[in-house]
Amino acid sequence: MTAATAARPRFARQVLAAARLDAAEILRSRWLLFCAGAYALLAVVFVLVGLRESTVPGFTGIGRVLLSMCHALLLLLPLLALTALGPVIGRAREDGTLELLFSHPLSRAAWFVGVSLTRYLALVVPLVVLLVGLGLYGQLAHGQAVPWPFMVRALVVSAALLAAFAGVGLCISTLVRNPARVTTYIVLAWVVGVALIDFGLIGVLLRWRLDPQMVFTLAAINPVQDARMALLSGLEADLATLGPVGFYLTHRLGADLLYLLGVLWPALVGVGTWTAAFVAFRRSDLV
């Protein structure tokens, strides 16, 4: 065999091979159990609590379950995305997987794309199943009127939020080689994401007497806050639900623009951080 005859498989074939192997890894990993368990726990808790009673007139049953669940998802989804993608490269490098895989005709780009897509789908697909399942359960078992448009909105926003933190996770995974530090950065990214929303920001504003514009800017560049406003503004745009920053922005920008912001900005953050991670991965040592 010569260089000419040693065929290099097509890129799509390489991506599929990498995705297939990573899917096999995920299906046997503890992380998937954790992810599925977290989703299932949320569903059970909110169904049990939400279907029983409601203090909001005119907004009861499955609609309330979904709203409560979205609040919880805003906290949970970033953490799931970060834990899914954050350790992926470091672990594969550490246990020799990268060394073995890249001794075969598999390009860095194909592996990176394959693994990113697989992990992202592993985050999104169970969420779709969960929310749609909840809706169907409410409709069929309890005769509830399910707010399907809100459900679709919630799924789109959640997918964008997952993309943002999946990208951040990949950045951490690529740039930080020390496994202990990876965990630290994952926690840090999550804490920053969930802390810099309304109440945290208002706390910052009051404590350090920041310019309100600065606070609103901080809120606007935080994908969690954007997703939160996009989800809630279309459903219950009051001060108690949205918080001061969200309430102000909703009335300033309008629900539609907030929805667009809540989808596009996290998606953009996801694409940007994914690209940065990819560039860093291409330039780094593989082992």
Partner: protein
């Protein structure tokens, strides 16, 4: 495949793993890459595979190695320690065969020859296989690949005796045009496997030459004799050291071996219960045995 390294260096943070390595490995050569732990063997093989970014230049068949994908389809590699992958054996074999354009049956046949039934372990996670089974699987994949360059890092370290024998037979059948780089600490095993030895020390090439000369310098023959009666005077007089289980041993040069073995048999006659002659790295010999050598 011909490999040429020119002033190849690699640093990891504060550690320099390779320091200006100049080395040429001819097409079809079978090279043993030796050296103590941390000498740079693994870094060198990883650099040749294009897994690391290095200073200096690496030429493959006269062309600079700038894209790993130019060498990967022509390469087969067996790491010393198999990765702890959670994926099932059949998934791994399937993906590799997909990438390589190999027939899974070819891998299964070699695995079976090495003593691993792929059908029996197909659903098991790679990380749940024993070290020996993982090694057999990776060897089977590498040997099924029609590669121009084989890099084998301690390929027999985890193999049982039967699998090791089968591997050595398979190794001998590797196409003569293929270049082989074998990392090993077992000098005794290398004699029949390689024709060239490269020794690394502290990231530099400390020795680069024919295997026969190097091995004859470094290898000792160890004669081990077990006698029926406790301590035959002849063994004591000829510098044999007492071991456990009634065994006496002495390290000798290859030339001494040819005279001492017949002499022992003649002198001890019916007292000899068993006699073994084996190769050993001089550095591995116990002080007692080395002393008399």
């Amino acid at each position: 495949m011909e490999i040429e390294l020119r002033q190849v260096s690699k640093r990891f943070a504060r550690t320099t793993a390779l320091r200006g390595v100049d080395l040429t490995i001819a097409r079809g050569a079978r090279v043993a890459l030796l050296g103590p732990n941390g000498s740079g063997k693994t870094t060198l093989t990883r650099a040749i595979m294009g897994l690391l970014r290095t200073e200096g230049s690496i030429l493959i068949d006269g062309r600079p190695l700038t894209d790993r994908m130019t060498i990967a389809p022509r390469l087969a590699y067996v790491p010393q320690i198999a990765p702890q992958m959670a994926a099932a054996v059949d998934e791994i074999v399937g993906v590799v065969c997909e990438l390589r354009g190999l027939a899974p049956a070819a891998v299964a046949e070699i695995a079976a020859d090495l003593g691993l039934d792929l059908v029996a372990v197909r659903g098991r996670a790679l990380r749940n296989l024993s070290g020996g089974m993982r090694q057999k699987l990776l060897l089977a994949i590498a040997l099924a690949t029609p590669a121009e360059l084989l890099i084998l890092d301690e390929p027999t370290a985890s193999l049982d005796a039967a699998a090791r024998a089968r591997f050595l037979a398979r190794f001998a059948a590797i196409a003569s045009g293929a270049t082989v780089i074998l990392c090993s600490h077992r000098l005794d095993e290398l004699r029949s496997l390689v024709d060239h030895v490269v020794v690394l020390s502290d990231g530099t090439v400390a020795h680069d030459g024919p295997a026969a000369a190097y091995l004859s310098e470094r290898l000792a023959a160890v004669i081990e004799v077990r006698c029926r009666d406790g301590a035959p005077p002849w063994l004591v007089e000829h510098g044999f050291a007492r071991g456990v289980g009634g065994w006496w041993s002495r390290a000798v040069t290859p030339a001494e071996k040819l005279t001492l073995v017949p002499a022992a048999l003649a002198a001890l006659g019916g007292e000899v219960d068993d006699l073994v002659v084996r190769d050993a790295d001089r550095l591995e010999l116990t002080p007692e045995v080395r002393h008399v050598a």
